[in-house]
Amino acid sequence: MPQIPETHQKVRFYQTGTLTVGNRLLDAEHRSVQGTMDRSNSLDSGHRACQGCGEALGARFAIDAAMRATNNQLIAANATGCLEVFTTPYPETAWSVPWIHSLFGNAAAVGAGIAAALKAKGREDVRVIAQGGDGGTTDIGFGCLSGMFDRNDDVLYICYNNEAYMNTGVQRSSATPGAARTATTMPVGKDPGNAFNTGKSVPLIAMAHLIPYVATASVHDLHDLEHKVTKAMGIHGARYIELFVPCPLGWGSKPSDTVKISRLAVECGLYPLIEAEHGELTGVTKIRRQVPVGEYLKLQRRFAHVLKPANTHQLEQLQAIANRNIKKFSLIEEQGGQE
């Protein structure tokens, strides 16, 4: 089997006890957009997101990076959902980019329409982002998203994946993992929580559309997110980034654990970080320090039942999924192996 090359990043940051990140150790050109004085603050403070909201954190970094990459020539279309609601309580707005919210299921199509308008007007210097949560992307917005991929519209779609419908009160989506408690998959009965062998991987489906760029990212590695957004904005055509964003409210986790949970999701293998171009996998983020899935699960009340003795079969199923991901995407460096 051919080795999948490791993704872009040459310099790695390791989380320290104080959660600081060594941005200042880098050359100026490699420093994060967020670490610069002239960042655009496109999603500004004062919005109504919950404490520890992974989506607010991710959106801020993603949009600021896109603004930097496009010389501030950016328009954003937003699906209905938390990100829309907490940023634009009438008559206030937290956005300093031109921003439109139309419906729950049409952000990709609205984005495609904006891109078409800009092309018709010869304003292809202005770029377009469409964004939404996992429900607005993988479920109700899926038809429009697939259409946007199919037509290769010049839009970067960012899905903020918190694995359920948080805005409506934590109901299951097609991005909810097996065993997870949601309001519609309660931890009762002999297989508590969400059913296994359901759901879908939209990054893999996006790859099947052979679009120019697909990536997954996580809010524990915001440098990587900025890099992927910047790379995406350097490409024309349909692009897709799915960002893993813990939701303290919906997951029953501490607001202060958002970044830690993101890191553990990646390090246990449940959330692989990948990059793909034109349908081919071009990079993965290797796991440096693998952890058992239990380390990730135990910080979230939505999985509390999984850790009870009666439900070890669920814990094993989740570990098996992580193991499959690790194998499928070569997430762990083979010891002493040479390509």
Partner: protein, 418 residues
């Protein structure tokens, strides 16, 4: 320039003359020829600076227009029937957000049972959606009203639906005067959006509005439609100056003055009616007609003024509010509530049932005798209805109504017409 031309092609040429910048559409019979022709024109470069989006659904089609309109592009789509229902969430959104999109509706029945032929069920399903709805009676008027629709939409920052009878207009060939580009340019100014997604002046569109302001937003939506009632005739008058045709306005009368009986309808059926009414007047019957061209906004005052002296009104419409009756009739009764005028409601032409001179005359005569049931189902075959009702009475598992009836009338014959 005079052309012998299909209705759909005429509409495509009219839309092209309006210099659209984004066209986004999903195919559905009988709208297809319009967007096929526009697609070919864009691909051939006949429409300059225009993008044509081949979308995955009607919901996507109108959503893309919402995006393109917000980004300042003159935007157009077209649909029919189920397509209208599939895009319905975006239909309300487009008007709520004040996007001046123009959409042609090739009017077609809504299923089940699935039916591709003409009635107004699709447009009527969106009658409260906040769009301006203009019904046309001929392909010439379809051309003329599309040109006015863009100007009206952009002036008010509201979307406009141009409703034309599917097949009867969309697929029929007739002589149409296609205007010159100079005429259209003189009538239709460049699109200056009221709100624009622009990095040079960022704004947020589509904010959540709670109880503190929602009622005011709805009030203003209604207010804007009331403004349109004045604007539509003004624009029609200006259109007539440039193009030399009376082809717009909120209503059109045909020998209404002093008529004891006035038939009120919309769309293309007035063509057949005019012949019937002329024959009836020759026979000494005092009867005229009126077509409602603007169904939304509904021109209540104008109708009151025009109909106040009539003894009776016969409303003929190709749509039904199931469980209530005639939709146009309901609206008209509301307009005439202060007058002692008998308003009869006739519903016909559903799912493409032919409307003939003979059956129209029988129906009008019944109305004049004030013998109409409420509502009156025009040219309905009661024997078929009764047979099905008996079947349902006789056995619990009586099966699907639509298929039972097809068997009664002869499924082979039905299949042949499709």
């Amino acid at each position: 320039m005079l052309k012998q031309i299909e209705g759909s092609h005429a509409v495509a040429e009219a839309v092209a003359l309006c210099r659209p910048e984004v066209i986004s559409a999903y195919p559905i019979t009988p709208q297809t020829h319009i967007v096929e022709d526009l697609g070919a024109m864009v691909k051939a470069g006949a429409i300059k600076n225009c993008e044509f989006l081949l979308v995955e659904s009607e919901f996507g089609a109108l959503s893309a227009c919402i995006g393109s309109s917000a980004a300042g592009a003159r935007s157009y789509t077209a649909t029919s029937s189920q397509g209208m229902l599939f895009m319905m969430e975006a239909v309300y959104n487009a008007s709520g957000m004040g996007m001046p999109i123009v959409m042609t509706v090739g009017n077609r029945a809504i299923g089940a049972p699935i039916n591709i032929w003409n009635d107004w069920g699709d447009s009527m399903s969106a009658r409260d959606a906040g769009w301006i709805q203009l019904f046309v009676e001929s392909n010439q008027q379809a051309v003329d009203v599309h040109i006015q629709a863009f100007r009206l939409a952009e002036q008010l920052s509201l979307p406009v639906m141009v409703c034309m009878d599917g097949f009867i207009l969309t697929h029929s060939y007739s002589q149409v005067d296609i205007p010159d580009q100079e005429q259209v340019d003189a009538f239709l100014p460049t699109f200056e959006p009221r709100q624009l997604l622009d990095p040079a002046a960022p704004l947020s569109m589509g904010a959540m509005v709670g109880p503190e302001a929602f009622a005011e937003v709805r009030y203003l939506a209604h207010h804007k439609q009331m403004e349109a009632l004045e604007l539509i005739p003004e624009q029609a008058a200006e259109f007539e100056k440039i193009f030399g045709r009376d082809s717009g306005g909120v209503v059109k009368t045909f020998n209404c003055d002093g008529a004891e009986t006035v038939v009120v309808t919309m769309g293309s059926v007035i063509g057949t009616m005019k012949q019937v009414l002329a024959e009836m007047r020759d026979d000494g019957i005092s009867i005229g007609a009126l077509t409602v061209r603007s169904f939304r906004p509904f021109p209540k005052e104008t109708l009151r003024e025009l109909l106040k002296d009539a003894d009776r009104v016969i409303v003929f419409e190709k749509c039904l509010a199931v469980g209530m009756g005639g939709i146009l009739a309901m609206n008209l009764r509301m307009a005439l509530k202060d007058f002692p005028i008998r308003v009869h409601s006739a519903i016909g032409g559903l799912g493409g049932r032919p409307i003939t001179r003979a059956n129209l005359r029988r129906m009008f005569e019944k109305g004049i005798r004030d013998e109409m049931e409420e509502p009156h189902f025009h040219d309905i075959h009661m024997n078929i209805v009764e047979r099905e009702l008996e079947r349902e009475q006789a056995q619990r598992r009586s099966g699907s109504i639509a298929e039972n009836i097809l068997q009664d009338v002869g499924v082979v014959a039905a299949a042949k017409t499709i």
